[in-house]
């Protein structure tokens, strides 16, 4: 007789499916260069932290001119970060002699896991790290009886 699946079995299966999907997406994301010759840009290392009331995005931006940093809201769950470097970097500067091209900026688009209120976002650049704080969109309050 076939055993009836409990809610925990279903939840575990769903979690496993999600983990497999996330792993596949991550692998695909990893298998592309972190630089783009055509736009002379490097993709910065980024991190996204979600708390109960805000989303904090950080990006490591070595060698950039702080005045040139731009953060644009593309939608309520996607932002774009660009920054010009103080000096141009080429492959040879990084010890690579078999590739050609130079880089003058950092550029990336960061998908946000939850919708945010871009108009109330704040950003600061400290010790080479850009930190963007984005308040999460408020929902409706449900009265507790």
């Amino acid at each position: 007789m076939r055993r009836r699946r409990s809610i925990f079995d279903i939840m575990r299966e769903r979690m496993e499916e999600f983990e497999e999907f996330a792993e596949e997406m991550f692998e695909r994301f990893m298998e592309k260069p972190s630089w783009d010759i055509s736009t002379h840009s490097l993709e910065p290392l980024c991190d996204v932290f979600v708390s109960s009331d805000r989303v904090i995005v950080t990006a490591d931006l070595p060698k950039v001119d702080p005045e040139s940093i731009r953060v644009n809201g593309i939608s309520d769950d996607l932002i774009e970060i660009t920054a010009k470097m103080r000096v141009k970097i080429n492959f040879e500067d990084l010890g690579v002699t078999h590739r050609r091209g130079e880089f003058s900026c950092f550029s990336c688009r960061v998908p946000l896991p939850v919708p945010v209120d871009i108009s109330r976002a704040r950003a600061r650049f400290r010790r080479g790290i850009l930190e963007i704080t984005l308040p999460r969109k408020r929902g409706y309050e449900i009265k507790v009886e």
């Binding site: 290392l45 932290f49 070595p62 060698k63 990084l94």
Partner: protein, 252 residues
Amino acid sequence: MKCLDEKVKIVERKEIPEGLKVICGLPDVGLVGTIAVSHLISKLELTEVAYVRSDLLPPIIMLERGLPRSPIRIFGNEDLIVLSSEIAIPSVAVHSIIESVVDWIWRKKAEIVFTLGGLPIPNRHEIEKPKVFGASSNETLLKMLDGKEIQVIQRGFLVGPQALILSYCTERGIPAVALLAESFYNYPDPEASSVVIQALNRMIDMEIDVSELIEKGEEVRLAMRDMMRRTQAELARMKKSHEYDIPGYYIK
């Protein structure tokens, strides 16, 4: 003796004397150990003395001046040897590789093993000078850490290559110390590497200058971006975030 996995082999390129100090700096949070040992290799002008060969690793070679090299190598001089890796150690291979390396260290009758790394903290960019914490394989070394003003981690989780180095060394009775600086999780952190080298200087009476590492911090961060990305992916597979966890309740 337990028969170790033959899938990992340490190949010696030169005769390596017994009783040396061993310093490990494998890719982990902030690439703290990796950056630190790269600096040591450069400052002490260490040469390659051995390498790790393993079919558990992805099919990657490191080309240097056109010649193939293993991505995981051991550099050294007559006093010490340094374990370094150009690639993130795959989570599926980390146990076998570290166990084999520690077995080799044991056969070389190492005097002491240091593993250098980072301790991730969320507000790292607000901290001017990261603090160094320590853990060791025995009580005597804990007292030594205390004497060098390195705070011992009393309780908490350690995940990844350095956790295994400490664990396997303890099992084999090899004196081992983990020196861990507060660091970024997923951004290369040369400042954390510099304080960990300063702690190592105090532990073994070395005088490695770290000023160049600080001055060239931005270059290091730029050059280490791709390695950091790969390492971050492997650390996620190793469940590195366990280090943030508060261990379960215990009665004092």
